[in-house]
């Protein structure tokens, strides 16, 4: 093989070299994007025995994969998912965010305090400008001085509503089963907002004047053992109205359920009472470390130059560091309050803004998990001639694994044409395309996709080193 595939421990753990997979990874293929860098890949693993396959499946999720050619890192990612077929049943082991997260919080709307579930007899004005629920104790919601802390909304049997601010509680039938009502929060004018005459109460709610309806945050809870193994994967539960206790319970339950990536059977071809034999197989899917940028959220907003923001945001990530970040003074904002944003999404949006001169920019996570951010090229890097990809020197590409996305490609056989009047950039040249996706399929196929085009446009069987003799 022109490349080697190497396996390392999880980067959150030791990241130590583990083994060579080169001759054991069948059907290796992987892709890279001009915005994102190393993207996704896959292979089928061929090991000596079922026990070895099981061991790999059980223990190597999250391990780092590196493709190298002549010592140069040409792709890098982590094992994100594995599918194990055994005796007709498929098992899944995955780091997909829906199946695994070890740091969870819930966002919820502050609820009403209570409602008419107390179920007692309701009455307007047992005493003037008051409300009674014979089974309720209103003393928890009374305000004796200052502005009212709580208010009441009453729904009548004819669907009309009356509401007011709660003052002091008092006893009509049971202790503190009634409470005085005011039209203003300052509790200066006794009475109701709305017409209570002739109305029959159907139900009511009591709510906190300041907090009701506001979005609350339980705070994160984390399984630090899991984070130490795999890295931190955040998950935010978005709830409507809920109590703090309910929200925290939901958060904790979710964390318990998903803190560890558990293997699960997902599909079976076995028919009850029948026997089924199928070959053992293990299919491995990998993802570039760009995807780990979306494992965590940023919660604070900031306005700054695009390159500064990218440097800041990537500096907050666990696995990716800032590599070559070219200066881009275009003003940009990361808006993360009140809605938290995933860091990868933020960086992607900044990249896609380009610069203040309207130039396209590109960026992604490449070798050594470094983020590269730069203006898209303005010079031709490759040529397409007679179905061969040639470099700047018009020599055939000898090492397809070295071809990265984000380059201008001139088609020698493009229909003769001229640039639109008034343009001089290569981007306006009809024989030039911008390649924003490169896929390598071992042993020697390159698929290229042009910017703005759906699907793969160009497939090349590149002549590569055969070497030796």
């Amino acid at each position: 093989m022109i490349f080697d595939l190497l396996l390392y421990d999880r980067p959150a753990r030791s990241d130590a070299f583990y083994m060579r997979l080169t001759n054991k990874a069948i059907g290796w293929q992987r892709s890279a994007l001009a915005v994102g860098g190393y993207d996704i890949g896959s292979f089928t693993l061929q090991l000596g025995s079922r026990a070895e396959l099981d061991n790999f499946y059980n223990n190597n999720l999250g391990y780092r994969i590196v493709e190298k050619t002549a010592g140069i890192i040409t792709w890098e990612g982590y094992i994100v998912e594995m599918r194990r077929m055994q005796m007709g049943t498929e098992y899944l082991h995955s780091l997909h965010p829906d199946r695994f997260h070890n740091k969870v919080k819930a966002i919820y709307s502050y609820p009403s305090e209570d409602d008419s579930e107390a179920g007692g007899a309701y009455d307007y004005d047992p005493s003037p400008n008051s409300f009674q629920d014979a089974s309720q104790d209103f003393s928890d919601w009374e305000t004796l001085a200052g502005d009212a802390t709580y208010r009441i909304v009453v729904i009548n049997s004819d669907d009309t509503r009356c509401w007011g601010f709660l003052g002091a509680a008092f006893t009509t039938t049971s202790t503190d089963d009634s409470i005085y009502v005011y039209t203003d929060v300052e509790l200066s004018t006794a009475g109701w907002n709305g017409d209570t005459s002739g109305k029959t109460v159907a139900s009511y709610t009591v709510s906190n004047v300041e907090l009701a309806g506001s979005r609350q945050d339980t705070g994160f809870t984390e399984n630090t053992d899991s984070s130490a193994e795999y890295g931190t994967m955040e998950y935010i539960i978005n709830l409507p109205g809920a109590t703090p206790e309910e929200s925290e319970d939901l958060r904790d339950t979710r964390l318990t359920k998903f803190a560890w990536p558990r293997s699960r059977a997902v599909q079976s071809a076995v028919i009850a009472g029948d026997s089924y034999r199928s070959g053992d197989s293990l299919h491995v899917m990998v993802a570039g470390f760009w995807h780990t940028l979306n494992w965590t959220h940023r919660t604070s907003s900031r306005v700054a130059a695009a390159s500064d923001l990218i440097t800041t945001v990537v500096g907050e990530s666990e696995f990716v560091t800032a590599g070559r970040i070219e200066d881009n003074s275009l003003g940009a904002k990361v808006d993360c309050d009140p809605i938290a944003q995933r860091r990868g999404d933020l960086i992607e949006r900044i990249i896609e803004k380009g610069d203040q001169d309207g130039n396209l920019w590109q960026g992604g996570v490449y070798a050594d998990r470094e983020l590269i951010y730069e203006q898209a090229p303005t010079a031709i890097d490759y040529y397409m001639s007679k179905n061969k990809l040639l470099d700047r020197a018009r020599s055939p590409i000898l090492v397809p694994t070295l071809v990265e996305p984000g380059f201008l490609l001139r088609f020698d056989s493009a229909p003769a044409g001229s640039q639109p009047i008034g343009t001089s950039s290569l981007w306006d040249d009809p024989s030039v395309g911008y390649v924003d996706m490169v896929e390598f399929v071992a042993p020697s196929t390159l698929n290229l996709q042009l910017y703005g085009e759906e699907g793969v446009l160009i497939t090349l069987e590149q002549q590569i080193f055969s070497g030796g003799a």
């Binding site: 093989m1 022109i2 490349f3 080697d4 190497l6 070299f17 060579r20 001759n23 000596g48 025995s49 190298k68 050619t69 002549a70 010592g71 140069i72 590599g323 070559r324 200066d327 010079a379 890097d381 470099d391 700047r392 020197a393 020599s395 000898l398 090492v399 070295l402 080193f465 055969s466 070497g467 030796g468 003799a469």
Partner: protein
């Protein structure tokens, strides 16, 4: 000279000969030996050997069958990783001088076929039901090997950024065979006290690309043409005692510092020996508190700068020490003469091919220093190791096993393993004929030319696609 066909466990273990006539197992006429394509990617071959097993009685018949089945089991157990030695198929024609062998992956045979007696009828009992004919199917590696390995000499090195190692020096004979010889053992040891050698680059160079002894493994930057920003300065720690000092005119601006042509580096007559595809290493340094990015560009002297092929950028955060950087710098020194002989002007293709060194300072206020370039050939095979972690007296050992897997380990001298290096290797076999290894090594993040290593005595096994003859 006698015919040899047999299968044998290991180098000297149990063997089963197929030349025993009526006293055991005999190879019948009709074996058409396979010939693998001459490529290191050639697949395993399936041999079909028609054999006849003759026993003096049924127990004797069973004995011979069990011999075969034992070796069949040995082959399976080696493939499963249970045994450390496998099974070989040996062969030699009647007048062939050299015996050869090939590693087997599996041995299969329909052992319950064709029971018959001397009458030719299917025999169910009686004294003559003691012959079995079996088509023995053997899956084997693509190429035959010599029975014994050829040793490679020891050597010492400790004063150059890169060097040539002659693996044919002892016994003073070129590599024989039809295709690259299997490298059984390549071993280097760190002979420098208080130093850890961590990285190794090795490329193979044979007569396919001219005279391997004439390859220049170090291109001195001071032999090139400096731009206005650069000048040669004396530096005892540099290769040949001189380095090129570059003074940037400002920050964050890419500037060209020097250009070095093939003719500058290898002299006027060695173009025919210095072409091919190389991984280019750069030995350079940056002072503490400065950071530089560097980029190599490849093209022909005289081309506009914008037309040069760009090889990727590498960043060095300076600490004042030399470093060996390996960027995405794979480029071919062209050689047109083999196809375009007689075309006027094309003899200049090689000698005007050149490398530009561009750099920019991204922080600090220091200068940048370029020492040399080291071309590691990639056309025929390479071995690149990182994480060797070799302390003084420790050894790095690499070898290709007969089954095709590789073994690489760092270890104490006559002691246990100390590290598991990461290996990137491709077609690492010694081609037939004369040849050299082009080697460079360094510490984990720095390079000191006086760090010394020994290349220990190693071995290889020549390989053939079919007959060995008298090689």
């Amino acid at each position: 000279m006698a015919v040899v066909t047999k299968i044998q466990y290991g180098d000297a273990g149990d063997e089963v000969s197929f030349q025993d006539g009526d006293a055991g197992i005999q190879l019948l006429p009709g074996w058409l030996a396979r010939i693998a394509p001459l490529s290191l990617d050639a697949p395993n071959q399936i041999e079909e050997l028609p054999i006849r097993i003759t026993g003096s009685n049924h127990d004797d018949l069973a004995f011979h069958l069990k011999e075969l089945q034992e070796l069949q089991r040995d082959s399976v157990e080696y493939d499963d990783g249970v045994k450390t030695t496998g099974v070989w198929l040996h062969a030699k024609l009647n007048n062939e001088t050299g015996e050869r062998r090939v590693f087997t992956k599996s041995i299969m045979g329909d052992f319950a076929t064709s029971w018959f007696g001397s009458s030719g009828s299917i025999e169910t009992s009686g004294a003559v039901s003691n012959i079995a004919e079996i088509p023995l199917m053997i899956e084997r590696r693509p190429f035959w090997e010599s029975i014994t390995g050829t040793s490679t000499p020891s050597a010492s090195q400790g004063d150059a950024a890169a060097f040539l190692y002659d693996y044919t020096l002892s016994p003073g004979a070129d590599v024989v065979g039809d295709i690259g010889a299997r490298v059984n053992q390549l071993e280097i040891s760190n002979t420098t006290a208080a130093v850890t050698i961590d990285r190794l680059w090795v490329g193979i160079r044979s007569t396919k690309f001219g005279d391997p002894a004439a390859l220049v493994p170090v291109w001195e930057c001071e032999d090139g043409t400096n731009e206005a920003l650069a000048s040669d300065v004396v530096q005892a720690l540099a290769s040949k005692g001189i380095e090129v000092e570059g003074t940037p005119s400002g920050d964050d601006t890419w500037e060209k510092y020097l250009t070095i042509k093939t003719s500058d580096a290898v002299g006027s007559t060695a173009y025919t020996d210095n072409w091919g595809t190389f991984l280019w290493l750069l030995r350079w340094k940056v002072p503490s508190s400065s950071t530089f990015d560097v980029e190599l560009r490849f093209g022909f002297d005289g081309m506009a700068d914008s037309d040069w092929m760009r090889g990727g950028k590498v960043r060095l955060v300076g600490d004042g020490n030399y470093a060996v950087s390996s960027g995405r710098w794979i480029a071919t020194v062209p050689f047109a003469l083999n196809r375009f002989s007689g075309y006027p002007g094309l003899s200049n293709v090689s000698k005007t091919w050149a490398i530009q060194i561009w750099a920019r300072r991204t922080s600090g206020s220091g200068k940048v220093y370029f020492d040399c370039l080291m071309p590691i050939p990639l056309d025929e095979g390479w071995l690149i190791a990182e994480g060797m972690d070799l302390a003084n007296t420790e050894r790095f050992v690499f070898g290709e096993l007969p089954c095709g897997d590789t073994m690489e380990i760092s270890k104490e001298d006559k002691g246990p393993p100390t590290a598991r290096p990461e290996i990137d290797t491709h077609n690492f076999r010694y081609p037939p004929g004369d040849g050299r290894l082009v080697m460079a090594y360094a510490r984990a993040s720095t390079s000191v030319l006086t760090d010394a290593i020994d290349i220990e005595t190693g071995s290889y096994y020549p390989a053939w696609a079919s007959l060995r003859g008298d090689e």
